[in-house]
């Protein structure tokens, strides 16, 4: 990973220790993505980016999560599963809208099969633009969400 991203990761690690004492648990939900964003979320955990060394862990269940990473324009068929997943995350919780579709609906926004961008259904703390966002951008977006979280809990 490049030096700038490395520095950002280290800073993020310190923030996570400050705010959470230990680590940040993240659950990803594909609410209608083309799977491009999933390629990049998966890249976060490969040996090159390896976000676990910065104290972030992608967990298997929303019940273990502090943060939801949501990708895709929310489809009609994923609206309820998304809301159920959100409700399963214990409070306080954060939401990151990942990628152009999650933010605005992207090219799918005006389809009969899509009900809207993520912030129509969930309170979004950070938006990560890109199609798909690069792994470095996702790490940066998580940092922005932590800033928002800190502001909210003050």
């Amino acid at each position: 990973m490049d030096e700038a991203a490395e520095r950002m990761g280290e800073e993020l690690r310190r923030r996570i220790i400050d705010l959470f004492g230990r680590s940040l648990a993240i659950r990803e939900v594909d609410a209608g993505s083309c799977n491009g964003c999933e390629v990049e979320v998966n890249a976060l955990t490969n040996a090159i980016h390896d976000i676990e060394r910065f104290g972030m862990h992608i967990v298997a269940s929303p019940r273990h999560a502090d943060m939801l990473l949501v990708t895709g324009a929310v489809t009609r068929n994923m609206e309820h599963p998304l809301l159920k997943t959100y409700r399963a995350v214990p409070s306080p919780k954060m939401v990151v809208a990942l990628g152009a579709c999650a933010i605005s609906g992207g090219p799918f926004g005006r389809s009969y099969a899509v009900v809207g961008p993520v912030d129509r259904f969930l309170p979004v703390d950070a938006y990560v633009p890109g199609c798909p966002p690069r792994p470095q951008a996702i790490i940066h977006g998580i940092m922005v969400a932590l800033d928002r979280w800190e502001e909210r809990s003050r």
Binding site: E28, V29, D30, A31, G32, S33, C34, N35, G36, C37, E38, V39, E40, V41, N42, A43, T45, N46, A47, I48, H49, I58, A60, S61, P62, G72, A73, T75, R76, N77, M78, P81, T85, G106, P107, F108, R110, S111, Y112, A113, V114, C131, P132, R134
Partner: protein, 520 residues
């Protein structure tokens, strides 16, 4: 395939077909509604493979819907029939041609045309709460009017008996994967039956395409299944190029080939690493995923996009590869190839891994063929097919490569087919970069005339992608997209039977299917 198409047509049940040749080398036949299923079933029985089965709403121009079946008999035969709106039904092919099953359910959801005699006429894509009588691909459907949610229940197939229980999984899974629901009926550990229910990421791509100008459609095509951006955009561009008669320059054909093979590289390497991951073989899993990242980085260096987006355009490509850059990529590939061979050697010399993959999730040829399976899944079940060789496009006819085929039909065979294909991809990229001819990057593109039909096939990492377009006024009038996953999901339902539940993730990984591409 050495099939005498003339003989097949001569021997067809009499009075069935009106035949005409199309200038793109396909054979086109028109039949009446009654004879449609018979003719397609006959062609299938003569060794044809169902490439696609779909409908179009031509009521405004011709007063009827049309059904279209594409059959691969070495040459592609397209069979067409009209379906009268007042009947709105056709004879189901599914009892005779298993591969027609999901296509007909899709036609029913999207057009409201009922497949008479279909063994399983439940909705496929549109959900429990979708009201009856609203069909999104009909031309009189207004996408700006919100569709209400109504109570409607989807019934899963039930397996009954003492000790049989159901395990529902998804749509939100434990891993970072796409959403889908798996309903297992199990007796203890062994799986008796699996029902895959998809449609969660149905975004209405085909309808959207009808309102998007051709050039912008490339952008949409790249987002049908994100990890097959190059394959889908190439298939879309080729279909549009046929519609308007654009001759893509040779250099662009070579660049497309390089990009398509880079896509195969990162997908296959990721899928192979996934097999190591799902057998808890941590070291090659980590090595493989790091190697995939190196390919993604190389993608970015070559094209500016890790997912190889924005390369394709109607008429050619948007970017060039300099001689110097090509040489750098070739030398980088040498190193990656060595790492890949080390990875493959580690994996296939481990008896504990082989113990998990050998004989697991077996899909034999006798099941795979009638289901119309494609890609590495088909090739691992002894079906020798590859669009790059059988229906060449881009620069493939000028390059030499092998199509690996195995007949184990299990997780092992599917993984080894991918390993062999990675080796071929390395060689293809090298040949294409080395032998790249000079010349322009894109042809001048004329306006696309309305009312024409064209299709194209591309061998994506998962198998054959098909795009089929009837041109309209500045946009497609009808755009049928068929991702390889749509052909292979049913194969997995069969492959898991008799296996234990803990082997399911491994079998699923070895099929490596797209949800977004399937759901559209």
């Amino acid at each position: 395939m050495s099939v005498d198409i003339e003989e097949i047509i001569r021997e067809a049940p009499s009075g069935l077909a009106i035949r005409k040749e199309r200038d793109d080398g396909t054979v086109h036949m028109t039949v009446d509604t009654e004879g449609f299923a018979d003719l397609v079933a006959y062609l299938h029985a003569r060794g044809g493979r169902l490439v696609s089965l779909h409908a179009a709403d031509r009521r405004a121009a011709d007063g009827a819907f049309t059904m279209h079946a594409l059959i691969d008999l070495g040459v592609i035969v397209e069979v067409e029939c009209a379906v009268r709106p007042d009947r709105a039904s056709f004879h189901s092919l599914a009892p005779r041609v298993n591969a027609a099953n999901w296509y007909e359910r899709e036609v029913q959801d999207m057009f409201g045309l009922v497949p008479d005699g279909h063994p399983d006429p439940r909705p496929l894509v549109l959900y429990d709460d979708w009201p009856e009588g609203i069909y999104p691909l009909r031309k009189d459907f207004d996408p700006s009017v919100p569709v209400p949610r109504v109570p409607r229940e989807y019934r899963f197939r039930r397996v009954e008996g003492e000790g049989v229980h159901e395990i529902p999984v998804g749509p939100v899974h434990a891993g970072v994967i796409e959403p889908g629901h798996f309903r297992f009926s199990a007796a203890g550990e062994p799986i008796i039956a699996l029902e895959v229910r998809l449609g969660y990421v149905h975004r209405g791509v085909e309808k959207l395409s009808e309102s998007i100008p051709y050039r912008k459609g490339v952008f949409l095509a790249e987002r049908i299944s994100g990890d097959a951006s190059a394959a889908h955009s190439t298939a879309y561009c080729q279909a549009v190029e046929r519609l308007c008669g654009a001759e893509v320059p040779e250099r662009a054909e070579y660049i497309r080939t390089v990009v398509l093979e880079m896509e195969r590289l990162y997908n296959h390497i990721g899928d192979i690493a996934g097999i190591a991951l799902d057998t808890a073989f941590a070291v090659p899993a980590a090595d493989g995923l790091a190697l995939k990242e190196r390919v993604l980085e190389l993608n970015e260096r070559l094209t500016g996009s890790r997912l190889l987006r924005s390369v394709n355009d109607i008429g050619g490509v948007t970017m060039d590869v300099s001689r110097e850059e090509a040489m750098k990529v070739i030398s980088r590939l040498v190193g990656l190839r060595q790492q890949f061979e080390k990875l493959a050697a580690t994996m296939f010399s481990s008896t504990s891994m082989l113990d998990r993959v050998e004989g697991t999730g077996r899909l034999d040829r006798e099941k795979a063929r009638p289901l119309g399976c494609v890609g590495p899944v088909a090739r691992a079940s002894g079906i020798d097919m590859d669009a790059r060789r059988d229906h060449p496009y881009a620069a493939y006819r000028n390059l030499s490569f092998r199509v690996p085929v195995r007949d184990g039909g299990d997780v092992d065979a599917r993984t080894r087919v991918r390993v062999d294909e990675v080796r071929e991809s390395f060689a293809i990229i090298e040949q294409a970069l080395d032998g790249m001819p000079g010349g322009p990057l894109a042809a001048e593109v004329k306006e696309v005339p309305a009312g024409r039909t064209a299709f194209s096939l591309v061998e994506a990492p998962r198998g054959e992608v098909m795009h089929w377009i009837i041109s309209g006024d500045g946009t497609p009038f009808r755009h049928k997209i068929r991702d390889p996953s749509f052909c292979n999901w049913l194969g997995m339902e069969f492959a898991v039977r008799g296996n234990i539940v803990p082997d399911f993730p491994l079998i699923n990984k070895s099929f490596g299917l797209s949800y977004a591409g399937n759901d559209l």
